[in-house]
């Protein structure tokens, strides 16, 4: 693989991670935070595929990528379920309202 492309892809991974972490710091809606987590997971999966590509073991990379996608889908589903439950019990999804545990 072309080194320029490689660096471009790596930059893409890092930027996506940056966007994701930024989103986690900025977003106040719980469901949106779960969405942002998914962006992070995409970045990680891309990173793994890229790693497979870099070490010329694309199938290994694919295998890891699939596992990550499936596993983190489960996490997202549980997260969504929790968010929905929060909405039901508290009537809001705002992070700020969800800060009774402090100090």
């Amino acid at each position: 693989m072309n080194p320029t492309t490689l660096k471009l892809c790596l930059m893409a991974v890092l930027s996506l991670v940056g966007i994701g972490l930024y989103g986690l710091m900025i977003c106040r809606n719980l469901i949106k935070m779960v969405i942002v987590l998914q962006i992070l997971v995409k970045a990680a999966a891309l990173g793994l595929i890229l790693a497979g590509q870099m070490s010329s073991q694309i199938n290994l990379g694919q295998s890891l990528g699939i596992t990550v996608i499936v596993a983190d889908t489960i996490v997202a589903v549980v997260g969504m379920a929790l968010a929905v439950q929060v909405q039901r019990r508290l009537g809001t999804l705002d992070v700020d309202a969800l800060s009774s545990l402090r100090g």
Partner: protein, 195 residues
């Protein structure tokens, strides 16, 4: 160079979609932008030669997850949030820039393709060589499903409107209590300091 430009297209769309997913105020739109990220990443996967993952990403990432999100938003209601973030935006920017630039500094200049022993041509890596991953994944799915059941299962009837109000009122009371307590503790700590 041409290859780089070819790659840059899906990358740029992915980044743009990601930014939009964060910026938009509507939850539904945000979920749809996520699907956009997913789709462009799937294209990228394909270009990188990871064909199976590309398919899975399209079906699971762009398809299933989006549907689930839309479903969840439907249940929870597309609440519009106050715009002002809790963490100052500048702080978030600075932190992200520092962390990501440092990471890039560590990774980018030194990233090269390394030729290792070639792997078997079969596509059986997933099912056979990494079979244990699959088994653990099954455990994980079991836990996830059980978790979903546990969180959502309703033995009482789902909430009807009065109960929501009641809980909201309770929350109001709690919050007021909390504020009162924190102001009290502030006062007492100040008193402690002046003493």
């Amino acid at each position: 160079m041409l290859e780089a430009i070819l790659f840059a297209l899906p990358i740029l769309t992915a980044l743009l979609a990601g930014i939009q997913a964060i910026r938009t105020r509507s939850l539904i739109r945000s979920a749809l932008w996520l699907a956009g990220v997913s789709a462009s990443i799937a294209v990228l996967f394909y270009m990188l030669g990871a064909h199976q993952v590309a398919v899975i990403e399209l079906s699971v990432g762009a398809g299933l997850v989006t549907v689930l999100f839309v479903f969840a938003i439907g249940i929870a209601g597309a609440e519009i949030q106050p715009q002002r973030p809790i963490v100052p935006k500048t702080l978030a920017w600075v932190l992200i820039l520092v962390a990501i630039l440092l990471l890039a500094g560590f990774a980018l200049p030194f990233a090269t393709t390394v030729q290792h022993s070639t792997e078997p041509e079969t596509t059986s890596v997933f099912w056979q060589q990494r079979g244990l991953d699959v088994i653990v994944q099954v455990v994980l799915i079991f836990c996830g499903v059980l978790g979903l059941l546990g969180v959502l299962a309703e033995e009482k009837a789902p909430l009807d409107q009065p109960m929501v109000d009641e809980i909201a009122a309770e929350r109001e009371r709690d919050l007021r209590n909390l504020e009162y307590q924190s102001s009290q503790s502030m006062v007492s700590s100040q008193q402690g300091q002046t003493r």
